[in-house]
Symmetry: C2
Subunit: 434 residues, 2 copies
């Protein structure tokens, strides 16, 4: 398949998340050259990120080098680089070292990051969970809070150190609250001498009227009760108006807490600005029914970066299965175009269901008319996630970690990693004996 | 066992390396209260650190939370804190949050860090390998060099990116050189499109006349040949006189290299300064034959922090088995003293042997009259290290990683982690279409 210059058709995919990978997979054997660009060298299995934050899984158990995934695909060129912009006229993607990559078809699948609803100054106090570094940072914050409490003699400081606030009652907030509660009340229960980890407060704050707003009300209510049984305090209809190093102000009241985690909102990556395209409030590019950018049939935007309206007027949700379906759709569309077929079916999202876990033995599932909760849902969740992991080694490794976590409550990744400047040099000693 | 104030005898151990852990283990049931202080929350299995740097093992596979190891020991209090100094008159250890911990017996087992022989300005260009953060940094540097080479169009820059220099021909230097050569020529061989990883240069530089100076000459020579077979260039009698962002100057000649690793020297931690005690050139506290500090029979210094002279005038080597023997010796000495026994045997080091690996299937072993090299030595090395790892889960996990690495050449931890400031925000886009 050649383009006008006699070269094979050049497809550039930016972002190696679920959508990006499925485009590359879908274009196997299509006779095109593919360049996949990501600022990381790995694909991240984001649905399990909270388990890294909760010290149950190691960072490398949920991440795979992109170029290793495509090592047998001679048609795929992997570049680790930060994209700086796109020249849509010259059809060039600019990368950080000053060079550029030309395309015939461009797909932007660059995902999303946290949003603080106009309160970016909260970020240092309330980190969000989107990257592997975020997960390692949050893991370190949680574990350090217990360590500092153990070293402290001040009961007020200890209480603040043993209070964990999670803002946002979606799946990530529910999963973080459950895993921290179990960490405190089970994994760490007997590891301290001066403090009692079981006295830890975990507070899950949601501004809306219920948890897991996309699930049926019955499952939201089940989730709230299940979390409360794990010892989590759930505050509903409770907007946060202040985050600081001291804690949060929620529903007008100050709550002292040294650890605040943000699971409340997302913001699309800057793809819309690269294209000077129209975007919605969350920064997502408003795409045509075939996921192209208006006026640019050669540019697709998919996944969390795209605002794709469904026939009922709502938008395709920002979840992994939606990104995968969009990736597969775009791969097929590119192949049809290359074969000269003109009729294009619009993208149709098939909702397969929603899943969320509550701690290490319960889950809720909503698939069409099926509503499941409890241990059976949890087994389905585990098996589904093991299935979607990439590679036999990782499946065995994650299964081993889960068996250990579930049977003996052991969490294998309880590491507090320090940034370079803290870790390298011992501080100057106080010379008391001179 | 009570001290003069009616409390149980208070033992404070600073440092949870091999020596520190063995003291705590040896004091089980001795009727004393133990406080173990470390600035990390984990014990690190340092002999396998180079495998984390080489992306074969995950960080959490070689580190265990200290307080988890002692969760069933009610006599052990674990504190994660940086020690600021020691008041030897008031018998107090000062920690970072301003509080202090009193002791009747103090053991300093705080290890060592890299030394640049008066060239501390080389550190940013030639990082050493002592901590888990060091290993993650080196892993990121190595993998990033290949990624940058793949993005570059400049052949001179590519050559420098594909040149790796390791300074220091001891076990760590040999292990790093072997693992990088195999990474380039095997693991990564088919993963790139613009560069050929097999064209990578790995240069191991040693100022002395041979590699592995503590081994018999025959094994040094075997190691050199085995490394050269893996594609490593070995430069002996070659002192480095300059390290910079461009590369090194070795034996008067400039060698362009973007990645330089330091495996040449160590410097003891500041324990001598805390005590205002006499130290040797490497900063190690000069200890009595019973490992106490002169004039302070209640203070022991062990492991890499101590200069402990043997009857033949040489010093106990800075290796894990020596630290473990010293830890066991000090634990027994404390128990004898508490029982009122006065005669003290001096510490006698029993040298059990030296081991080093060369890549993933060869090793050299020297134990008394036994000199082994090749695949048999490698099997002994692997089994010994699996045996000394802590916990069934970690043994299974490391074994699984090694089986995968050995059979399919897969390295599961090829992650480039970025520091927070680089990772969090996308850089400002160039708006080309306005």
């Amino acid at each position: 398949m050649k383009n006008t210059s006699g070269k094979r058709h050049q497809v550039v995919v930016v972002g190696a998340g679920f959508g990006g990978l499925d485009i590359v997979n879908g274009l196997e054997g299509a006779g095109v050259d593919i360049t996949i660009i990501d600022r990381r060298n790995y694909h991240l299995f984001q649905p399990l990120l909270y388990q890294v934050a909760g010290a149950s899984l190691a960072t490398s158990e949920i991440a795979w080098p992109i170029r290793h995934l495509f090592r047998n695909r001679q048609d795929v060129h992997t570049l680790m680089a930060e994209v700086q912009g796109v020249d849509t006229k010259a059809r060039q993607v600019f990368i950080e070292n000053g060079s550029s990559v030309g395309y015939d078809t461009l797909v932007l699948a660059t995902g999303a990051t946290h949003a603080y609803f106009g309160h970016d100054e909260w970020e240092p106090y309330a980190p969000g969970l989107k990257t592997l570094e975020d997960a390692a940072t949050i893991r370190g914050k949680i574990l350090s809070a217990f360590e500092e409490a153990e070293c402290s003699n001040d009961p007020v400081a200890r209480t603040a150190l043993q209070t964990f606030v999670i803002i946002g009652g979606g799946p990530t907030g529910v999963e973080l609250a459950g895993t921290i509660a179990e960490l405190a009340k089970d994994t760490l229960a007997h590891d301290f001498r001066s403090i009692d980890p079981r006295a830890t407060r975990v507070v899950l704050i949601e501004a809306g009227p219920r948890l897991l707003a996309v699930f049926p009300e019955k499952l939201s209510e089940y989730t709230r009760r299940a979390l409360e049984k794990l010892g989590v305090e759930v505050a509903l209809g409770a907007p946060v108006t202040e985050c600081s190093s001291e804690g949060v102000v929620v529903a007008g009241k100050q709550l002292m807490a040294k650890t605040i985690l943000w699971a409340a909102g997302v913001q699309a990556s800057p793809a819309a600005r690269w294209l000077s395209a129209e975007s919605d409030r969350a920064g997502r590019v408003i795409v045509e029914p075939d996921l192209t950018v208006p006026g640019h049939p050669e540019i697709f935007v998919i996944g969390d970066t795209a605002a794709s309206k469904m026939p009922d007027g709502t938008f395709v949700p920002g979840i992994a299965p939606a990104a995968k379906q969009q990736g597969q759709y775009v791969a097929n569309l590119i192949k049809r175009r290359l074969k000269g077929k003109s009729s294009e079916e619009p993208f149709r999202y098939k909702h397969q269901g929603n899943l969320a876990t509550i701690g290490r033995s319960l889950a809720v599932i909503h698939m069409g008319r099926v509503k499941l909760c409890g241990a059976i849902a949890w087994w389905i969740w585990k098996l589904a996630h093991i299935y979607f992991l990439i590679g036999v080694k990782n499946r065995m490794s994650v299964a081993l970690s889960w068996v250990w976590n579930h049977s003996v409550g052991y969490r294998g990744s309880r590491l507090i990693m320090r940034p370079k400047n803290q870790s390298q040099q011992a501080s100057e000693p106080i010379e008391l004996n001179k």
